[in-house]
Amino acid sequence: MEERKIVGFAIDPEYAKFIHSITNPADILGKPEALDDLVVLDLSYGNFAGIVASSFLAELGAEVIKIEPPNGDLARKMTPEGIMIGDAGLAYIVEARNKYHITLNIEKEEGREILKKLVKKADVLIETFRPGYMDSLGIGYRQLKEINPSLIYCAITSFGQFGKDAEKFGKMTGYDLIDQVRGVVMSVTGEPELDPDVPKELKKPVKAGNWMGWYVGGMWAVFGILLAAFYRKRTGKGQFIDVSPCEGLIAIANYLMQYYHMTKMEGEPKKMVRAGNFDYAVFPYTYVKSKDGYVFMSGFTDPNWAALCEIMNRPDLQKQYPTIRERLNPYNQPVIQKEIEKFTTQYTSEELLKMVLDYSKKPDRKGTVVTGRLNSPKEVLEVEHLKVKEMFVERKDPNYGKVLVQNSLFRFMSRTPGRIKWICRPIGADNEFIYQKYLGLGKEKLESLKKEGII
């Protein structure tokens, strides 16, 4: 690889080259996998938090067996505009990586007996049914830990397994949007309440465009499962894990609760209002219009603000809003924003980036300004950096044709990098292999189970 592509803007090119040498994507397949001794059963249904959790584990080498009812997981149909490739929608294809796909009807007694046999051989079980459902079938944690005491059982539900809300609302099916509305983050995301130019009916909470509730929930589940696996390595003990994705959002909602509590201790609790692209703790730190789309622009500490004003040639602005006290005033922010945009709309994002980088090389610069383009997804796919880092994997899948999916985040672990081995599998495609491998069931037995509607 050309050196330029490795060292980029590195302050120490030798360091960049060294890290490249120990995390080179070309070497990944020859390296070991961190979780290659874990067998994971994923029974999640219609819920991507469970699917994402098992995806991350599969990237890190766990043998994940996705167990679907004979008609397939409803999640296969959660796809934009209803686009399907064969039996799978786009979202499902993205998160089926490295997993074996089998079918099993756990609503039938024989299906449950088969599940119990699999649980004996498994280390982790993930499910997303309403609380108490598995238990009512005789295959909840209480029953399964008798069969396999070191089992790590991870249940993911919107309202959790216990607590006041779980008692009342626990029977509702979980959705990403339900997790997002309960997660507090959404209450402060949306167009700015205090900008008089925003029409009143548009001043409302806005969800993250992606399935943030499900993905963040799934990531917390992975974290919990790995903590439990590590603990089990040391003690031999399995455990129960109760994931409620909204708690994963509440726990990362900045200082909202701390601020509420502290102001309450002083008399009157205070809440943050939706700020749009402003930020009431750092400003300017915002998206502004340019000639060709939006760019991020920041200069929030006093020296950095001075630098931004110098680049814009607006000493008057610096005088008018000299310290963070003026700039963090929510009523000033829309005004400052519009002043900055008077400047930025005269240039393209490329020109603005160049101006900022040139300024950063000046010996008498007053501070650091940071900028970056607000990319559309199409533009993201064209970014050279991401291509060099193999952020996307383009493959011809034997069942789903030519596809492109995002790569594992863990592929730069020097010893046990994450990886994608295959993309997706049809419903029940691995029945023969998995049932033969773990239960010794031959073709004839499988045929009869199929006739009985078990698989």
């Binding site: 590195a10 060294f18 509305v181 990531m219 963090l328």
Partner: protein, 431 residues
């Protein structure tokens, strides 16, 4: 569920005995270490002379007893050391820590630690079991390495801001530093995976994580959709493009999310609306996802919801078997009995700051997270850490102060300092 309830301090900590050295500032790096600290790791946080930037980042420039809520949010249960890494003596001290530690995390500019002699090739020589993680905007190598990044850069360069926002309106960033927090979670996952592997093999490793990649990773079907259709993914407000119905609706007294994807749930919703004609026409979830059908169905639900209250719709959802819930804000979460019962929100008495109420990291499990204490003034635990971990005498420690290797808070900078009413003793572990 009895295993999950009860006194959290009676339960084991999964990362007990794991020592983490944090050389981080702002949100991303400190949050990664925080996730580990709340689950029992011993995190020693090294702070540069100018202080963690979050000492000065706080809403409306607000401080509570000299504490920035922006600093507190990702710093719990940690031990705080003020140490100047540029000093040659600091390097020797850090080597001694590395020998006795399991994990090193830094989020400085890639290569900065290497310039101080603390790169992975050196650290693994000292301790082959060490797991070193670096996290940055774009990673430690590649065309963009070395570029400064912030949460909002990752949200914009990764495509999240472009797909977030109301239809036909401006792109929006999240109301919180979501790319920081989630990338920190990716870091914590990688670290525990590496600890697990080390438990089997004794081998440590180096881990490089990048912020913009985390954002790209969790944009679900975006990339495959763009690749196959050649179209961009646009902004659609609260409507879920892959699940119908799933949207936020205006009610008489607020907003409510309504979701009903399976045939049965959709049937329940149509019954509640008295609109079985919708069910007959759109029973199949895939048919509902066609844009024209989805717009029609959502508009009909919107008309129905408009003159109802949020709680009326939630009750109907329970009765008819679909999902509906209102938007929870910080006040409701704070006062929620549910989250307190689950220990998702915990109250504790901090020796410096008194009663604090904060979220505690999920998931709820038999080896759960817990809050012991909050953020600390700069250099607050210098003596304790140097004496306990390295066995240094007070004389040696005094010398390090004199040489400018270690330091405490600057009295002229209030947000580095203890509260004004501090008695000079409370919260100190040693001497």
């Amino acid at each position: 569920m009895e295993e999950l309830i009860g006194d959290i301090f009676e339960k084991p900590e999964p990362l007990k005995g794991i020592r983490v050295l944090e050389v981080c500032s702002v949100v991303l790096g400190p949050a990664a270490a925080d996730y580990l600290a709340e689950f029992g790791a011993e995190v020693i946080k090294f702070e540069a002379r100018r202080g963690d930037q979050m000492r000065y980042v706080t809403p409306y420039a607000y401080f509570y007893k000299n504490l920035s809520p922006g600093l507190l949010e990702q710093n719990h249960n940690k031990y705080w050391v003020g140490m100047h890494f540029g000093h040659p003596k600091a390097r020797e001290i850090f080597y001694k820590f590395v020998k006795k530690s399991d994990v090193v995390i830094d989020n400085l500019t890639p290569g900065r630690l290497a310039k101080w002699g603390l790169s992975y090739d050196k650290l693994r020589e000292i301790n082959p079991r060490i797991i070193q993680l670096h996290v940055s905007g774009f990673g430690s190598w590649g065309p963009f390495t070395g570029r400064t990044s912030y949460d909002a850069i990752a949200q914009s360069e990764g495509g999240l801001a472009y797909i977030t926002g109301l239809e036909g309106r401006i792109p929006l960033k999240s109301g919180v530093w979501i790319a920081d927090w989630t990338t920190a979670l990716a870091c914590a996952i990688a670290i525990v995976a590496a600890l697990y592997y080390r438990e089997k093999t004794g081998e440590g490793q180096f881990i490089d994580i990048s912020q913009v990649e985390t954002v790209i990773r969790y944009l679900d079907w975006t990339w495959l959709y763009v690749y196959l259709t050649g179209k961009n993914r646009e902004r659609f407000g609260n409507r879920d493009l892959a699940i119908c119905p799933s949207d936020l609706f205006d009610c008489k007294d607020g907003w409510v999310a309504i979701c009903a994807f399976s045939e049965n749930e959709f049937k329940g919703l149509c019954e509640a609306m008295g609109r079985m004609d919708l069910y007959e026409k759109f029973a199949d979830p895939l048919v509902r996802l066609k844009d024209e059908n989805a717009r029609y169905i959502l508009a009909e639900i919107a008309k129905w919801a408009r003159d109802k209250t949020v709680s009326q719709i939630e009750e109907l959802a329970l009765k008819y078997g679909f999902s509906a819930y209102h938007v929870v804000d910080v006040e409701e979460a704070y006062n929620s009995e549910h989250f307190r019962q689950r220990k998702a929100i915990q109250e504790y008495e901090d020796p410096l700051y008194g009663y604090l109420v904060e979220p505690c990291y999920p998931p709820r499990m038999e080896t759960p997270a817990r809050l012991k204490w909050g953020a600390r003034p700069m250099g607050f635990d210098n003596e304790h850490v140097l004496a306990r971990v390295l066995g240094m005498s007070m004389e040696e420690i005094e010398k390090l102060y004199e040489e400018g290797v270690i330091y405490k808070w600057n009295p002229a900078v209030p947000s580095q300092c203890p509260p004004k009413d501090w008695d000079g003793k409370k919260g100190l572990k040693y001497p």
